[in-house]
Protein backbone atom coordinates (compact mmCIF):
# COMPACT_ATOMS: atom_id res chain seq x y z
CA UNK A 1 0.00 0.00 0.00
CA UNK A 2 1.50 3.34 -0.97
CA UNK A 3 1.21 6.67 0.84
CA UNK A 4 -1.75 7.92 -1.18
CA UNK A 5 -3.71 4.76 -0.40
CA UNK A 6 -2.79 4.96 3.28
CA UNK A 7 -3.82 8.61 3.40
CA UNK A 8 -7.12 7.74 1.74
CA UNK A 9 -7.78 4.97 4.28
CA UNK A 10 -7.03 7.40 7.12
CA UNK A 11 -9.37 10.05 5.71
CA UNK A 12 -12.06 7.39 5.12
CA UNK A 13 -11.86 6.05 8.68
CA UNK A 14 -11.75 9.49 10.33
CA UNK A 15 -14.55 10.98 8.18
CA UNK A 16 -16.76 7.90 8.66
CA UNK A 17 -16.14 7.99 12.41
CA UNK A 18 -16.94 11.72 12.58
CA UNK A 19 -20.12 11.26 10.49
CA UNK A 20 -21.32 8.45 12.80
CA UNK A 21 -20.31 10.43 15.91
CA UNK A 22 -22.13 13.49 14.54
CA UNK A 23 -25.31 11.46 13.89
CA UNK A 24 -25.09 10.04 17.43
CA UNK A 25 -24.57 13.50 18.95
CA UNK A 26 -27.41 14.98 16.89
CA UNK A 27 -29.79 12.18 17.91
CA UNK A 28 -28.85 12.35 21.59
CA UNK A 29 -28.58 16.10 22.14
CA UNK A 30 -31.07 17.58 19.65
CA UNK A 31 -33.75 14.90 19.27
CA UNK A 32 -33.63 13.07 22.63
CA UNK A 33 -32.54 16.26 24.54
CA UNK A 34 -29.79 14.42 26.46
CA UNK A 35 -26.70 16.27 27.58
CA UNK A 36 -23.13 15.42 26.66
CA UNK A 37 -22.84 12.03 28.34
CA UNK A 38 -19.87 9.90 29.34
CA UNK A 39 -20.58 7.71 26.27
CA UNK A 40 -19.90 10.71 24.02
CA UNK A 41 -16.72 11.49 25.92
CA UNK A 42 -15.61 7.87 25.56
CA UNK A 43 -16.27 7.90 21.80
CA UNK A 44 -14.40 11.21 21.40
CA UNK A 45 -11.45 9.79 23.39
CA UNK A 46 -11.52 6.65 21.23
CA UNK A 47 -11.31 8.80 18.09
CA UNK A 48 -8.27 10.69 19.36
CA UNK A 49 -6.57 7.51 20.58
CA UNK A 50 -6.85 6.18 17.01
CA UNK A 51 -4.94 9.18 15.67
CA UNK A 52 -1.46 8.13 16.86
CA UNK A 53 -1.47 4.61 15.28
CA UNK A 54 -3.03 6.13 12.15
CA UNK A 55 -0.17 8.61 11.73
CA UNK A 56 2.45 5.88 12.37
CA UNK A 57 0.73 3.76 9.70
CA UNK A 58 0.76 6.76 7.38
CA UNK A 59 4.49 7.47 7.82
CA UNK A 60 5.68 3.87 7.32
CA UNK A 61 7.37 3.41 3.93
CA UNK A 62 7.27 0.38 1.60
CA UNK A 63 11.02 0.80 1.04
CA UNK A 64 13.73 3.34 1.90
CA UNK A 65 13.67 4.86 -1.58
CA UNK A 66 9.88 5.01 -1.82
CA UNK A 67 8.64 8.23 -3.42
CA UNK A 68 5.93 10.37 -1.78
CA UNK A 69 3.74 10.17 -4.89
CA UNK A 70 4.15 9.59 -8.61
CA UNK A 71 2.35 10.50 -11.85
CA UNK A 72 -0.35 7.80 -11.41
CA UNK A 73 -1.04 8.92 -7.82
CA UNK A 74 -1.41 12.51 -8.98
CA UNK A 75 -3.82 11.41 -11.74
CA UNK A 76 -5.88 9.41 -9.24
CA UNK A 77 -5.95 12.32 -6.76
CA UNK A 78 -7.00 14.71 -9.55
CA UNK A 79 -9.97 12.47 -10.49
CA UNK A 80 -10.93 12.04 -6.82
CA UNK A 81 -10.90 15.83 -6.28
CA UNK A 82 -13.16 16.23 -9.33
CA UNK A 83 -15.60 13.61 -8.01
CA UNK A 84 -15.72 15.18 -4.54
CA UNK A 85 -16.12 18.67 -6.06
CA UNK A 86 -19.12 17.46 -8.08
CA UNK A 87 -20.53 15.80 -4.96
CA UNK A 88 -20.25 19.09 -3.04
CA UNK A 89 -22.36 20.83 -5.71
CA UNK A 90 -24.94 18.01 -5.66
CA UNK A 91 -25.12 18.18 -1.86
CA UNK A 92 -25.43 21.99 -1.89
CA UNK A 93 -28.27 21.72 -4.41
CA UNK A 94 -29.95 19.11 -2.21
CA UNK A 95 -29.52 21.35 0.85
CA UNK A 96 -31.24 24.17 -1.02
CA UNK A 97 -34.19 22.00 -2.10
CA UNK A 98 -34.82 19.59 0.81
CA UNK A 99 -35.58 22.23 3.56
CA UNK A 100 -38.47 23.52 1.42
CA UNK A 101 -40.20 20.17 1.82
CA UNK A 102 -39.41 19.93 5.55
CA UNK A 103 -40.11 23.46 6.85
CA UNK A 104 -42.02 24.89 3.88
CA UNK A 105 -41.37 27.96 1.74
CA UNK A 106 -41.88 30.47 4.58
CA UNK A 107 -40.45 28.33 7.41
CA UNK A 108 -37.21 29.02 9.25
CA UNK A 109 -34.32 27.02 10.66
CA UNK A 110 -31.91 27.84 13.50
CA UNK A 111 -28.61 29.42 12.48
CA UNK A 112 -26.53 26.60 14.02
CA UNK A 113 -28.10 24.15 11.54
CA UNK A 114 -26.21 25.92 8.73
CA UNK A 115 -22.88 25.26 10.47
CA UNK A 116 -23.85 21.61 10.95
CA UNK A 117 -24.86 21.34 7.27
CA UNK A 118 -21.56 22.89 6.12
CA UNK A 119 -19.54 20.56 8.32
CA UNK A 120 -21.60 17.55 7.18
CA UNK A 121 -21.04 18.46 3.51
CA UNK A 122 -17.30 18.76 4.17
CA UNK A 123 -17.20 15.35 5.86
CA UNK A 124 -19.25 13.69 3.11
CA UNK A 125 -17.00 15.27 0.45
CA UNK A 126 -13.91 13.91 2.27
CA UNK A 127 -15.57 10.50 2.50
CA UNK A 128 -16.32 10.54 -1.25
CA UNK A 129 -12.79 11.78 -2.03
CA UNK A 130 -11.13 8.94 -0.12
CA UNK A 131 -13.57 6.36 -1.50
CA UNK A 132 -12.85 7.56 -5.05
CA UNK A 133 -9.11 7.13 -4.46
CA UNK A 134 -9.53 3.63 -3.02
CA UNK A 135 -11.86 2.53 -5.83
CA UNK A 136 -9.29 3.65 -8.42
CA UNK A 137 -6.61 1.62 -6.63
CA UNK A 138 -8.95 -1.39 -6.45
CA UNK A 139 -9.20 -1.03 -2.62
CA UNK A 140 -5.57 -2.16 -2.40
CA UNK A 141 -6.46 -5.80 -2.98
CA UNK A 142 -5.92 -6.08 -6.73
CA UNK A 143 -2.50 -4.40 -6.51
CA UNK A 144 -1.08 -7.34 -4.62
CA UNK A 145 2.34 -8.92 -5.01
CA UNK A 146 2.95 -10.75 -8.28
Amino acid sequence: MNRTQKGAWCILIVSLFLILFGILLFTEIVILKNLFTSLHRFIALLLFSFMVPLFIFLRKKQSRAEVESDERDRLIIKRAILVSFVSVWVLLAAVCIIPRFIVGYTGSIPVWVLSVINFAIFLIAMFIYSTAILIQYGWGGKDGEK
Binding site: M1, N2, R3, T4, Q5, Q62, S63, R64, A65, E66, V67, S69, D70, E71, R72, D73, Y137, D143, G144, E145, K146
Partner: protein, 71 residues
Protein backbone atom coordinates in the same frame (compact mmCIF):
# COMPACT_ATOMS: atom_id res chain seq x y z
CA UNK B 1 -14.58 1.38 -32.74
CA UNK B 2 -10.79 0.90 -32.92
CA UNK B 3 -9.41 -0.77 -29.83
CA UNK B 4 -5.84 0.21 -28.95
CA UNK B 5 -3.68 -2.20 -27.01
CA UNK B 6 -0.38 -1.35 -25.38
CA UNK B 7 1.64 -4.38 -24.35
CA UNK B 8 4.83 -4.45 -22.37
CA UNK B 9 7.69 -6.81 -21.55
CA UNK B 10 8.48 -5.43 -18.08
CA UNK B 11 7.81 -8.69 -16.27
CA UNK B 12 10.11 -10.65 -18.62
CA UNK B 13 12.80 -7.96 -18.49
CA UNK B 14 12.69 -7.89 -14.69
CA UNK B 15 13.37 -11.62 -14.54
CA UNK B 16 16.12 -11.35 -17.13
CA UNK B 17 17.77 -8.64 -15.05
CA UNK B 18 18.70 -10.85 -12.08
CA UNK B 19 15.06 -11.29 -11.02
CA UNK B 20 14.57 -7.65 -10.14
CA UNK B 21 11.57 -7.14 -7.86
CA UNK B 22 8.76 -4.69 -8.62
CA UNK B 23 9.86 -2.63 -5.61
CA UNK B 24 13.46 -2.43 -6.86
CA UNK B 25 12.31 -1.31 -10.29
CA UNK B 26 9.91 1.20 -8.72
CA UNK B 27 12.71 2.67 -6.58
CA UNK B 28 15.04 2.94 -9.56
CA UNK B 29 12.56 4.75 -11.81
CA UNK B 30 11.07 6.88 -9.01
CA UNK B 31 7.52 5.58 -8.77
CA UNK B 32 5.55 3.47 -6.31
CA UNK B 33 5.33 -0.32 -6.56
CA UNK B 34 1.60 -0.03 -7.28
CA UNK B 35 2.36 1.96 -10.43
CA UNK B 36 4.76 -0.75 -11.68
CA UNK B 37 2.07 -3.39 -10.98
CA UNK B 38 -0.53 -1.34 -12.88
CA UNK B 39 1.85 -0.82 -15.86
CA UNK B 40 2.78 -4.52 -15.96
CA UNK B 41 -0.89 -5.51 -15.91
CA UNK B 42 -1.65 -3.05 -18.73
CA UNK B 43 -4.03 -1.06 -16.50
CA UNK B 44 -2.00 2.13 -16.71
CA UNK B 45 -0.14 3.66 -19.65
CA UNK B 46 2.95 5.49 -18.33
CA UNK B 47 4.04 8.93 -19.48
CA UNK B 48 6.86 9.10 -22.04
CA UNK B 49 9.52 10.19 -19.50
CA UNK B 50 8.60 7.27 -17.23
CA UNK B 51 8.58 4.84 -20.17
CA UNK B 52 12.08 6.03 -21.13
CA UNK B 53 13.30 5.68 -17.53
CA UNK B 54 12.03 2.08 -17.42
CA UNK B 55 13.68 1.27 -20.76
CA UNK B 56 16.98 2.82 -19.66
CA UNK B 57 16.89 0.88 -16.39
CA UNK B 58 16.85 -2.34 -18.41
CA UNK B 59 19.33 -0.95 -20.96
CA UNK B 60 17.03 -1.53 -23.92
CA UNK B 61 15.10 0.65 -26.37
CA UNK B 62 11.57 1.87 -25.71
CA UNK B 63 10.13 -0.44 -28.39
CA UNK B 64 11.64 -3.45 -26.67
CA UNK B 65 9.68 -2.61 -23.52
CA UNK B 66 6.41 -1.26 -24.91
CA UNK B 67 4.55 -2.38 -28.02
CA UNK B 68 1.52 -0.62 -29.42
CA UNK B 69 -1.05 -2.60 -31.42
CA UNK B 70 -4.17 -1.42 -33.26
CA UNK B 71 -6.98 -3.88 -32.59
Amino acid sequence: MVKNEMKNQIRRLRFENSEMTQQQLADRVGVTRQTIIAIEAGKYAPSLPLAFRIARTFGVSLEQVFQYEDG
